[in-house]
């Protein structure tokens, strides 16, 4: 008989034994080959003055981690001026601290929300530097992890209010407002994200008045906000549907106005239900910011791609991409584990209600 959910003990009967042995042997072989390639025959750093020819000689047999060691800084902070590198690192720390704080449930207060708005602002100010009297670094030189963090965090925070309006609009009894909301949500969700990035890259400049040159990073950020708002709106709509009608009626019978009832009674409950899918949307956005490379911005993946265009390191894409994947994985996996745990906790809490 099958028991779902919980894996059974390792050996149950002879089919299990055979499957375990065969698959185990296969896995062991794969692991062995990987260790041979990635550790035993790998080159970790090039001696001073040596060229990458040394790496080329072992290609196919050993990994060339030297490319990662030598170019890690570039991948993490992009082409930011070397003398000012503390700034992107500080920005990374800020964002990591923000995410870490968001995982602690006792810190879920208004302040946390304020920090989600404040940290991206501080990040932009610090990276640019001009307003702090530091060296002015225009956004073309920003890159790597700070860009990934900035695009996803600011995209998420700024999309949220639009998403709430869209979700309420979709449930509105006013036909024109409902139609506009539904239209926006469905159109945005029906076309690839990349069309919006192309729009940001080539169409937005056509919309702007002559002489006004909107920064490319800002245009990409706007595209992410527009798209994320539509996806978040559907998440919030799901949360609104989970709030029973009695809550609206109780709020109304107390004399609360529509907006008071929404802000004080309905939305807080809808958000609580929506937290796990909101977190998942954030993870998706975090990964999707990598698409900015198609419009020529250098986030983490863009910087990685730039490394292997360098003639010195051409052909070592596997090593570079494995490194970039490890960085993305570390963040997404940590957050998704948290989201799963949270979902269980909230379910348990709902069960006792």
């Amino acid at each position: 008989m099958t028991r779902h959910g919980r894996p059974a003990p390792m050996f149950r009967d002879w089919t299990n034994t055979i499957a375990t042995i065969v698959l185990g042997a296969l896995l062991a072989y794969v692991a062995y080959s990987f260790v041979q390639w990635g550790v035993v025959h790998a080159i970790w750093r090039l001696p001073d003055g040596a060229s990458s020819i040394m790496c080329r000689d072992v290609r196919g047999e050993g990994a060339c981690w030297a490319v990662v060691v030598e170019r890690a800084r570039f991948m993490l902070v992009g082409g930011y001026p070397i003398d000012e590198q503390w700034r992107p690192y500080a920005v990374c720390l800020l964002f990591v601290a923000l995410y870490a704080a968001s995982l602690v449930r006792t810190l879920w207060t208004r302040w946390l929300l304020a920090f989600w708005i404040a940290v991206p602002v501080v990040a932009v100010v610090l990276l640019r530097g001009r307003w702090l009297g530091l060296t002015d670094v225009p956004s073309e030189f920003w890159g790597g992890l700070p860009l990934t963090f900035l695009l996803s965090t600011a995209g998420f925070t700024m999309a949220l209010p639009f998403a709430v309006l869209l979700a309420l609009g979709r449930r509105s009894t006013l036909p024109a407002i409902r139609a506009l909301s539904v239209g926006y949500i469905e159109v945005v969700r029906g076309v690839p994200l990349i069309t919006f990035l192309f729009m940001a890259a080539v169409m937005f400049p056509l919309f702007a008045p002559q002489g006004v040159n909107v920064d490319k990073l800002l245009r990409a950020q706007i595209a992410f906000i527009m798209v994320t708002a539509a996806y978040l709106a559907e998440v919030i709509r799901g949360g609104l549907q989970a709030v029973p009608r009695g809550q609206y009626e109780a709020a109304a019978s107390l004399g609360l106005s529509f907006w008071s009832a929404m802000m004080l009674v309905v939305l807080p409950q809808a958000f609580r239900v929506s937290i796990p899918p909101l977190v998942n949307t954030f993870i998706a956005l975090f990964k999707d910011t990598s698409l900015v490379i198609v419009i020529g911005l250098f986030d983490l993946l863009g910087a990685a791609k730039a490394v292997i265009v360098d003639p010195k390191w051409v052909g070592f894409g596997v090593e570079v991409y494995l490194f970039a994947a490890a960085v993305y994985f570390a963040f997404s996996y940590a957050v998704s584990r948290f989201s799963l745990r949270l979902e269980r906790e909230l379910q348990r809490a709902a069960g006792t209600a």
């Binding site: 008989m1 024109a176 029906g190 529509f258």
Partner: protein, 346 residues
Amino acid sequence: MIPYAHGTAPPMRTTPRRVSWTDPRVRAIAWQLAVVAALIAVIATVALQTAINLRARGIASGFDFLTRPAGFEIARGLLPFSSRDSYTRALLVGLLNTVRVSLLGIAIATSLGLLIGVARLSGIWIVSTVARVYVEVTRNTPLLLQLLFWYTVTQALPAPSDALNPLPGVYLCFRGLFLPAPIWHDGFPWIDLEQPTLVGFGFQGGTSVSPEFAALLVGLSTYTAAFIGETVRAGILAVGRGQAEAAAALGLSRLHALRFVVLPQALRVIVPPTTSQYLNLFKNSSLAVAIGFPDLMSITNTTLNQTGQAIEAIALAMIVYLGISLSLSAGMNLYNRATLRRGGTA
């Protein structure tokens, strides 16, 4: 507004009154007018500004460019194409490439996803663990990164002169995968296999799969399979344990219980989220532009770069993607409604 009152439209007003801002009906209309007017104002401003900008930069508008020769080459696709063919034909070739990679990707992702989902629930520790690691790694890294990775892998293959030759007539090198192709002709046995042969720096004859197509197909289907695997798992878990136990009590094998009792019930839970995964795969196929596969988005990109007519090109692409997305989800909704009607609750 009376957001709380959900009666039907009142056939009669309780008190005749003059137009007042506190009348919810007046407010409702005013709100809607205000929003629509603001929207029209924004669109009009943007349109006017755009028209000025286009004239200033000497960019043409309209869809005349569609009939002009494209002037670029596209690697062999389902339709023959040369640089003298029109932009319309180029976009059509791109669309067919998008559809081809999406359909194949959906087929592979579904089979692989089903396997992964069942493996996740396997009683054999090593099987469920391998499936779990696969799902976690795939879902927690960007798809674009995976596509670039697979493309890099194809480019690490040997040169055509040292091509791998795992089966007679099958060659694998960084130029792609080359296979024998059937050729129809008159006279017995009506069919022949044409072998690819090495000519210069490449292979000729037979059929081939380009490295770009292969990377895109592998990347899209393995990525989507991880998501489908999770919906399959959730669907199976949604079927009560009693069902599997009852099947076991009747003497059904585990495989039969899964095949005849659990999966048919789970399907109802699995289909809707899987539909949206199919849609995602279709939309994600546009990432082809990053690895140089000539799909609809790549051709659109080339078109807008060459003609400068960004608005028309992007609008066209959006309409096509939106049309296919909406019809796909409409079709799936019909299917869902049909399955719901057929059965009771799981």
